[in-house]
């Protein structure tokens, strides 16, 4: 379960969103929509615990989140299998076979990540979520540089994750065919009145 109540988030000391509230039970997904710069990434990073929220309450995210941002977190000089094994070990897991299979990475598993194409790298980056064993997936623009077939693989992986009692939060503009709640963040833009106390420049 993941519950947010009246969360406000800031980027670079400027509030971008306020009054974000939603609740997700096991097996549910939420898709964030909104124009560029509307604060989707900032909200996802806040839920992942990479930055503090300005105000509001958040429940259920602590130590249960696997985060996938714009960068894939792959090392160019390690093979795909070595990269995934490393992340599995960090999260106390061992098995990477399921993840390789789900994204059709088995033929690429011995290739150095630096020699992969952008779409193949993205696939390896998404496979990383599967080896974490974490219940909440937070995905920021997961389908960038993926072809149509791989988007299908990705949608299947998310569906399987939800079917296993997981939760997924996605910021994406394409239709994945998932049964999910949709949250449009555009109306939640923070008002200038919320600026008070937003800046942490005094400490920098």
């Amino acid at each position: 379960m993941l519950r947010l109540k009246n969360i406000a988030v800031a980027r670079g000391g400027v509030p971008v969103l306020s009054g974000v509230s939603f609740a997700l039970e096991a097996g549910q997904a939420l898709i964030l929509r909104g124009p560029n710069g509307s604060g989707k990434t900032t909200l996802l990073r806040t839920i992942a615990g990479l930055q503090p929220a300005l105000s509001g309450e958040m429940e259920g995210a602590e130590d249960r989140v696997a985060y996938s941002g714009h960068a894939d977190g792959l090392k160019a000089m390690l093979s795909v299998a070595e990269n995934l094994k490393f992340w599995a070990a960090v999260y106390g897991q061992h098995d990477i076979e399921g993840a390789l299979e789900a994204y059709a990475l088995a033929p690429l598993s011995d290739r150095l990540a630096g020699t992969l194409s952008a779409g193949q790298k993205r696939r390896a980056g998404l496979a990383r979520l599967m080896v974490t064993g974490r219940p909440i997936w937070i995905l920021d623009e997961p389908t960038v540089s993926l072809d149509a077939a791989t988007v299908g693989l990705f949608a299947d992986a998310v569906r399987a994750h939800l079917g296993g009692g997981g939760i997924a939060l996605l910021a994406t503009h394409i239709d994945l065919g998932l049964e999910a709640q949709v949250l449009d963040v555009a109306p939640l833009r923070a008002m200038p009145a919320d600026l008070h106390g937003a800046s942490d420049e005094a400490f920098l």
Partner: protein
């Protein structure tokens, strides 16, 4: 933690990992010093401990801006920050990996390069001991500096400026221990101070570095 250590070591040893960078710099510096100072073996012998310590310190400094910057660029730090491993432990492990790939080779190479600088025979053991005690502090302080500057593009200059003053006590006591060892003086005090600096850095700086990193990856 072991996985992170092994990964960092593996990355350092693969092509482009920068493993030999510090060592090569150390070698070049100590080979060139006798040429620039001239054939005065007594003078060389008296400056040898200081030159070797300075070379080791600058070689360490040279590799610092790669320590976290590469992980920051490819998104690894974001994922590490959300992983079950505490950020303090992750940074301590990265400092250990830096020491194994940079500090330890310098400690091993130093006695061989001491020959080039005409280091007196009784000084070799003390030189190695002082470097062994002092280089962990250099790696740990460097990790702290790297965590402070990781978000800044081309932050290498700022990193050097921040870290150099913090390196001064280590250099003073390390070089002093090696110098006293070379001329056969009592050296308990500088060795104790050096160990104290290293132990203090290892105990406190992982927490400071993690706090700094949490600010910079926001």
């Amino acid at each position: 933690m072991i996985a992170l250590l092994l990964r960092d070591l593996r990355l350092a040893l693969r092509a482009g990992g920068g493993f030999g960078l510090g060592l090569a710099f150390f070698l070049i510096l100590t080979v060139l010093v006798p040429f620039s100072v001239g054939p005065q073996s007594a003078l060389l012998a008296s400056i040898a401990p200081g030159v070797l310590w300075l070379g080791a310190l600058l070689a360490c400094l040279l590799s610092l801006d790669r320590l976290l910057a590469l992980d920051y660029e490819d998104g690894t730090l974001d994922v590490l920050a959300t992983a079950p491993l505490p950020l303090e432990a992750a940074l301590a492990v990265k400092a250990i990996a830096h020491w194994i790939t940079t500090g330890l080779p310098l400690v091993i190479a130093a006695p061989f390069l001491g020959v080039l600088l005409n280091l007196p025979p009784q000084g070799f053991g003390w030189l190695v001991l002082s470097l062994l005690l002092g280089t962990p502090a250099l790696s740990m302080i460097g990790t702290f500096g790297a965590a402070l500057t990781v978000g800044i593009k081309r932050g290498g200059l700022l990193l050097s400026l921040l870290v150099l003053p913090l390196y001064v006590p280590t250099l003073i006591f390390g070089a002093e221990a090696a110098r006293r060892g070379a001329i056969g003086m009592e050296l308990e005090t500088p060795l104790l101070m050096l160990s104290g600096i290293s132990l203090g850095s290892i105990a406190l700086l992982p927490f400071a570095a993690a706090a700094a990193l949490r600010m910079t990856i926001r």
